[in-house]
Amino acid sequence: MSEIIQLDRPLPVGSEGKRAGGWWGLLALIVTEGALFGYLLFSYFYLVSQTQQHWPPQGLPQLGIASLNTAILLASSVFVWAGERCIRRRQLQWSLASMAVAILLGAGFVMIQFREWGHKHYDMTANLYDSLYFTITGFHLLHVAVGLVILLLLLLWTALGYFDDRRYAAVTIGGVYWHFVDVVWLFVFTTLYLTPYLF
């Protein structure tokens, strides 16, 4: 590795896209948060594999509302992605609109999830399954709530004219956090709603 390094090239200054420290930091955060959810789901599968209880105790989960909610959350990710793309193409108005739609969809997911909780006549102390169900979905809902605050801040900052096509690292970084929260939901949904049908 003794090749000459060119030292007099012009270099970007400050938080430029994926060169920004924050981008790298967020990737590391995603790894550790992903691990956290991995261990949550490990705990679920471990206890399922060891339990002598009827599982799930209240019968197979209803798929309707949860599937709809999955679609809503995935759609919100598309709008976040579009919002970032619009900034890159200097279409700030469209970006704001797209981000606002994403936030509405995310808020819709939270409301439907609360309804889903309300439909259960038990809480997390009723039995082992409910402890797991409410803890896992609760952890995810907390991440959605944090993600919504981030999206709201991005909307505000874009509206204040902080970003244009040259500097918008915060939108990239905040956006990928939201995508991460959505991908986690796919794992949570598969674990809690689909796998009980398999065994």
Binding site: M1, I5, L11, V13, E16, R19, A28, Y46, Y162, R166
Partner: protein, 660 residues
């Protein structure tokens, strides 16, 4: 891109020299120095200050944990002693373990790495200076949190691995375990953000030319430990959080009566716990790999094998956790697999040991204090490693499990591989930290007293274990045949403590009266020795350009790889700036704007610690309020700033209106 070369968004970084006292150097000092007084004290983000705080705080915890150990050794010196009640003894051995493993062993290494990384890598600070400050404050507050209930006699008392159901609400009714559970989640945040900081710093902030095969081994060690933390810390935080839910809200994760499984706790704890063992030793092994060659007057033998074995150890370290659970009735197949992995892990460890021995063998050793500590470490590592291989054998472990043999093994490993390199490392880098040399005579005394005391204290524990003495008993009957070994152990532990005391006296005396140190008193090879002792606030007046693994030994080694440029390099002085480089080849990639000193880390650390205090005291409204306060602190912190060029500058250069 329409930006001209002098726009605020892109520019050619200027090269030059900035010798001490030049205009450029004075300007740099003005940019980077922290405000004096309490404001600077609370707001500083200087990695050197934070590193020293980590070291000092960790040593205070080492002293606390040591005093706890000495009290226990007084109790165990003779049979049927009544110095301590059983409950007091439980709290002492638990707090001793918690303190040493969580509040001393990793934080002290984080202290070294925080101080040394930017200096070794040729950077002006860590990748996230404010996150670095937050990581320290959270560590401090978590330590205070874990100790707060100790004076009230309500400290954690279920052992450091805190097995359920003993630690469930049914059997442990006080706040003891809740303090431990919440404190560990809080400390986990500190560890995680610190680890992320190290990872990003390694990949982004090396001096140009310092390709990935030219970084010091300490960097490899801390990087490996940090990556492991990112994967391992969430599992213990989750386990403690679930235990807290079980205890406070009646969930059933570990509740045997309602289908919960105590074995889940053991799996979760040791999936974290075993990687953690390597987390607290690999950076210390890195200290030796970097500092030992200096005293052998030659480069480390086998740089690449040692770097690779560091990572291999960690990788295998994630697959050995069940060897803590051999006696729990798991299927034989699982035991065989985990027993085999535990034995295989001795191969990468042996690679490192042979590399150190070969370095001493082929070098011309200088027998001064740091060398003694590093050579002593190699011996203790071999003894601790051997007893580790013994307990990796399932049938032998059935016999030795939960006896003093295990206590002996883990102390040889943790003190041998952590404390000895750490003390040696302090002797080695003290001149860099404070600009003064430590006293050599007192240093040699401290080594021999520590080394003899350590072996006298801990070797007989092997024998106590083989004689069947269980760990964690508060006393024993006189006719068990354990009297002599325990008396020797107790005497040895006090000798060891005396040696450590000599070391601390040496630190205090040398701080005031030590001989002034030059910038490179040991004639070492790495970049931290190229800057003055102690280093200025900006570290490097110019960002150096690195051409080899041993920038300061190039003339002597003459490896033919060109010469590093240390006097001339990037000036980067339009505000706090440093250079970002590409992850593997370290080519210049971006001019990074570094943050000013900030109160945000202190307040975020304080408020988030108060959340946990609120949760512990069931003050839900207060906890909610503190969550809001933490959120606001975080938003203020992350608000896009013009100084860091996170948002677009006010005047657009492509409009052509600016004539300044």
């Amino acid at each position: 891109m329409t930006d001209s070369a002098d726009s605020p968004l892109i520019r050619v970084p200027e090269m030059g020299c900035a010798p001490l006292g030049s205009d450029a150097e004075i300007r740099l000092a003005g940019l980077w120095e922290t405000e004096p007084g309490w404001r600077g004290w609370l707001s500083t983000v200087d990695h050197k200050t934070i590193g020293l705080r980590y070291l000092a705080t960790a040593f205070i915890f080492l002293l606390l944990g040591g005093i706890e150990a000495l009290i226990m050794r007084l109790q165990l010196a003779q049979p049927d002693q009544t110095l301590l009640t059983p409950e007091q003894y439980n709290q002492l051995f638990t707090m001793h373990g918690v303190t040493m493993i969580f509040l001393y062993a990793l934080p002290v290494l984080s202290g070294f790495s925080n101080y040394l990384w930017p200096l070794m890598l040729g950077s002006r600070d860590m990748a996230f200076p404010r996150l670095n400050a937050l990581s320290y404050w959270l560590f401090l507050f978590a330590g205070l949190f874990l100790y707060a209930s100790f004076p009230l006699g309500q400290a954690p008392d279920g052992g450091w691995f805190n097995y359920v159901p003993l630690t469930g609400r049914l059997y442990d009714t006080g706040p003891n375990i809740d303090v431990y559970a919440l404190g560990m989640v809080l400390l986990g945040i500190s560890t995680t953000v610190g680890s992320i900081n190290f990872i990003v710093t390694l990949f982004r902030l090396r001096a140009p030319g310092m390709s990935i095969d030219r970084v010091p081994i300490l960097v490899w060690g801390t990087l490996t430990a940090s990556v492991a933390n990112v994967f391992a810390v969430p599992v213990v935080s989750l386990a403690f959080f679930m235990l807290w839910l079980d205890r406070q809200f009646g969930t059933h994760f570990f509740d045997v009566v309602n289908g919960g499984k105590p074995m889940l706790w053991q799996h979760l704890f040791w999936m974290f716990g075993h990687p953690w063992v390597y987390v607290v030793v690999l950076p210390a092994m890195g200290i030796v790999s970097d500092a030992l060659p200096t005293f052998c007057r030659r480069p480390l033998v086998g740089y690449a094998p040692v770097a690779l074995s560091t990572m291999a150890t960690m990788l295998l370290g994630f697959g050995v956790w069940v060897h803590h659970m051999f006696a729990t009735g798991l299927p034989t197949l699982a035991l065989s697999f985990f027993g085999a992995t535990s034995m295989v892990i001795s191969i990468p460890s042996a690679v490192a040991v042979f590399a150190w021995i070969a370095t001493i063998w082929l070098g011309r050793p200088v027998f001064n204090t740091p060398f003694l500590f590093f050579a002593g470490f190699v011996l203790l590592f071999v003894i601790g490693g051997l007893s580790g291989v013994m307990t990796a054998a399932v049938p032998l472990d059935f016999q030795l499990n939960e006896t003093y043999f295990i206590v002996a093994h883990l102390h040889y490993v943790l003190l041998g591989i952590n404390v000895f390199p750490v003390v040696g490392g302090i002797y080695y880098w003290f001149p860099k930290f404070f600009g003064r040399m430590m006293n050599e005579t007192l240093g040699k005394w401290s080594f021999w007293v520590m080394f003899i005391g350590f072996n006298a204290g801990f070797f007989p524990m092997h024998i106590a274990g083989l004689l069947g003495m269980p760990r964690r008993i508060y006393t024993y009957a006189p006719n068990m045949g354990w009297n002599t070994v325990n008396l020797i152990t107790s005497a040895g532990s006090f000798v060891f403590a005396l040696g450590l005391l000599l070391f601390l006296i040496n630190v205090l005396v040398s701080l005031r009266r030590g001989a002034p140190a030059t910038e490179n008193p040991w004639q070492a090879s790495t970049l931290e020795w190229a800057v003055p002792s102690p280093p200025p606030a900006y570290n490097f007046a110019v960002i150096p350009v690195v051409a080899s693994r041993h920038p300061l030994w190039e003339d002597w080694l003459d490896e033919g790889a060109g010469r590093s440029s240390l006097e001339t390099g990037y000036l980067l002085m339009e505000g706090r700036e440093t250079l970002g480089t590409t992850p593997l080849d370290a080519r210049p990639d971006v001019i990074l704007k570094m943050p000013e000193d900030s109160y945000a880390p202190f307040f975020l650390g304080l408020f988030s610690s108060l959340i946990f205090a609120g949760l512990l005291l069931h003050a839900w409204d207060f906890a909610g309020l503190m969550i809001m306060a933490s959120g606001l602190s975080l938003i203020a912190w992350l608000w896009p700033s013009k100084a860091l060029v996170q948002r677009v500058p006010a005047v657009k250069p492509d409009k052509g209106v600016a004539h300044v």
